[in-house]
Amino acid sequence: MTESTFVPQPDGADPIATRLVAELKHDRGILACRYDTVNHFLFAGARDYFVHRWDLAREPVVEPPADPKKKPKVPPVPVAPMDSRIELAEHQSWVGGLSLFGDGERMATGDFVGRLVVWSDRAGVPKPLFSFEAHKGSIRKVAVSPDGNLVATVGNDGAVRVWHTDSASKLHVELLGHDCHVYHVAFHPDGKSLISADLKGRVKHWDVETGKLVREIDASLLYAYSEKYEVDVGGIRGMTFNADGSQVCFAGATGDKGIAHSGNARVLLFDWESGRLLKELRPEKEEVCTAWGVQFHPDGFIIGSGGSRTGGFLWFWTPDNEVAFHMVRFQQRAPGFDVDLAPDNRTLAVANHDGVIRLYEMSGEKKADLAEAGT
């Protein structure tokens, strides 16, 4: 690793100390995960037809070893009790889009056959408030506006649609302009702007009120046209603003390695106002894999998750250095498709291909209770 330019704050997170503290197990690959910032839950979408909710207030348990006579080489990781998870049925395909309202009540989810579901009572017994086909083909991501009045969806039909959340299928505005699959969508923290990002690495900045295209941001470093295979490869897989909206990150991979291998993992850091690329963030050693998830940490560093069949990773960058100051290589060869930061700002949830959400603590101290992560 390069010399760290990051110095942990006295009571802040310490990425160098990141360690696995618990596993939330499922039997299908996890595609998206989000902490409930109001309640003690973690929600996830997976390669099945459900939205999953784990109750983080439940104490994780250490599972007995398969062979009691053999002492494990490494201490077993505590696992969330099986009955701490409930499944919410409404979807008709995999759930890859997941966004929680700030009201502590509602949640929006989207699936691979275009169905958008807005749920109520997410802390109790969640039920669909409304559910309809919002896109022809897959919904890739959903985003809820900061005031909770709108939900944006993007999908394979190339459309960006913004819906009112007070009634079913009431379209606020349809934003057209992408000519390929749209992979990601996010509201700016001010709620007035929306960005959508596509397979070709093009980011469109829209005015939420008028639906007008304001500008385009070029993140096409994360895209390649494969001359050999005559196909588009790559795309923007992860996307997030920092808290004040002054910066935005796009995650993906650069380069063309055909249709059998990913390019090299990258996170692009942009200045929002100017639309200028500030840094092309990369692992210290090039990894043939994709960065799928990205988050800003309030302590000033950036977290990426990703991987490929060769392994899964967490990377940590400071905005002033292209090279990651720290990396966590997962024990399992499973990419982290999504990463979310707990309200305590010390715990990370990573959605893994192998059907497990893993919770990592960016701290050397052992926490007694996972529920603290949700408070």
Binding site: R28, H181, I259, A260, H261, P335
Partner: protein, 427 residues
């Protein structure tokens, strides 16, 4: 095995064709072919009218995302299954147009083969020769059809429409270069089909005749496979120059060009229809990029999104014109893809079970043969080996797969002798 193409000379072919032509003329003169021709010969003549259309989905089509969907299982992927024109049969939602012509097809969901050396190349060869590649080289099925079915001297017997950057393959093995695929890379006409401007037609013909005289003199003294190959190449080139319009898909109506689509596979399918209509015996269309170790679902969405409509349109057109009655259609791929979804959202190679589709002449359509279990990890009904399908492809057009090629004095069975045709698929 010695590659001896001299037993397959042009002279032999011409005399054989002349014989058949004379027999046809004679039979027509008395008005009733069936009454005066030996049944076996009549069957062979019948076979002569047959044409074959082969689709190769190159790289390994996923059976889950096409003809054997397993939605809402641990292996099934994100796509739904949809009903087809055959009650009770479902395809993936990625092929809605093909689903509408399902009654013109027979689906085999229980294909398998042993793993063979050479990854894609080896597996592909196994599918189109019916024999493990390490035992070969054996001729691919296109050249076999060219040899056994083609009866028009003025047309190539076997044309392969490929994505760009595909070159010619030595797919004829001991059948000789005359039957090797004429490759239309990117669906474009062969290079240099236009006569150089410095030669007018008369001068060009004189030049051609002079070369023929020289060739004849040379071959009377030293006859080798090479001279056959050169002769064959010149003959084919002359044919192509005479018929360059054959390859010009823009001569098809604008309406049809719109129906098939402006992308490559749309143009290629329309070109295939044109070639079949003009009488080419065997046309193969290759569509690429199914080798989806990474992003299987995205790539199948893209590739099948292109392929589905032109394929179904071509099936419909062949049916409407009556051509399906004498045209065998095969949709093959070298292997399937793993039930397990890999970390890069991909599926790897899988030779334990996959799907192929056949239709048209000689085929019992509108059904599904074989089955895999609930999540597609194994075959649970009527396994079908690639060698059996090779026999089936032969039988469907009235050829006897147990008959033999004569190679250097040795008899080589058309199909692997230890296999036989899948009777359930044949009419």
């Amino acid at each position: 095995m010695r590659n001896d193409s001299s037993c397959n000379s042009t002279d032999h072919l011409v005399s054989r064709r002349s014989m058949l032509g004379n027999m046809l003329a004679g039979a027509a003169g008395v008005g009733a072919l069936g009454q005066f021709v030996h049944p076996l010969v009549a069957k062979e003549i019948e076979a002569k009218k047959k044409q074959v259309l082969i689709f190769l989905l190159n790289g390994g089509l996923s059976q889950f995302e096409s003809f054997d969907p397993k939605p809402n299982t641990d292996t099934g992927g994100p796509f739904r299954s949809i009903p087809t024109s055959v009650p009770g049969t479902h395809f993936s939602e990625l092929i809605p147009y093909t689903a509408q012509v399902a009654h013109k097809l027979a689906v085999v969901r229980s294909m398998f083969a042993e793993r063979v050396p050479g990854s894609h190349g080896g597996a592909r060869e196994y599918v189109v020769t019916g024999r493990p590649p390490q035992q070969g080289p054996y001729p691919w099925i296109g050249p076999v059809y060219s040899k056994l079915l083609a009866d028009n001297e003025d047309l190539p017997g076997n044309i392969h429409i490929t994505p760009s950057r595909w070159g010619p393959r030595q797919d004829a093995a001991f059948l000789g270069p005359r039957h090797a695929s004429l490759v239309l890379s990117g669906g474009q006409p062969p290079l240099n089909v236009n006569r150089p401007e410095v030669f007018d037609k008369e001068l060009d013909e004189s030049r051609y005749k002079l070369r023929q005289i020289a060739d004849l003199r040379f071959s009377q003294r030293r006859r080798t496979a090479h001279t056959e190959a050169y002769q064959s190449s010149y003959d084919q080139a002359a044919q192509l120059i005479r018929q360059k319009d054959l390859f010009d898909v823009t001569r098809e109506s604008e309406k049809d060009q719109l129906r098939y689509g402006s992308h490559d596979v749309g143009r290629h399918c329309l070109l295939a229809r044109r070639l079949l209509q003009k009488g080419v015996t065997c046309v193969k269309v290759t569509h690429n990029n199914y080798d989806s170790h990474m992003e299987n679902f995205n790539f199948h969405l893209e590739q099948l999104g292109e392929f589905d409509k032109p394929f179904a349109t071509l099936m419909q057109d062949l049916d409407d014109s009556g051509a399906l009655d004498h045209t065998l259609v095969m949709l093959v791929t070298e292997f399937g893809r793993t039930p397990v979804i890999q970390p890069d959202n991909g599926r790897d190679h899988w030779q334990d079970s996959w799907s192929v589709v056949v239709g048209g002449c000689g085929i019992q359509t509108g059904g599904v043969l074989g089955a895999t279990n609930d999540n597609g990890t194994e075959i649970v009904d009527r396994p079908v080996h690639v060698g059996e399908m090779f026999h089936t492809y032969m039988r469907a057009v009235g050829l006897d797969p147990t008959a033999t090629h004569l190679v250097g004095g040795n008899k080589v069975p058309f199909g692997a002798p230890e296999r036989s045709a899948v009777k359930e698929l044949l009419i």
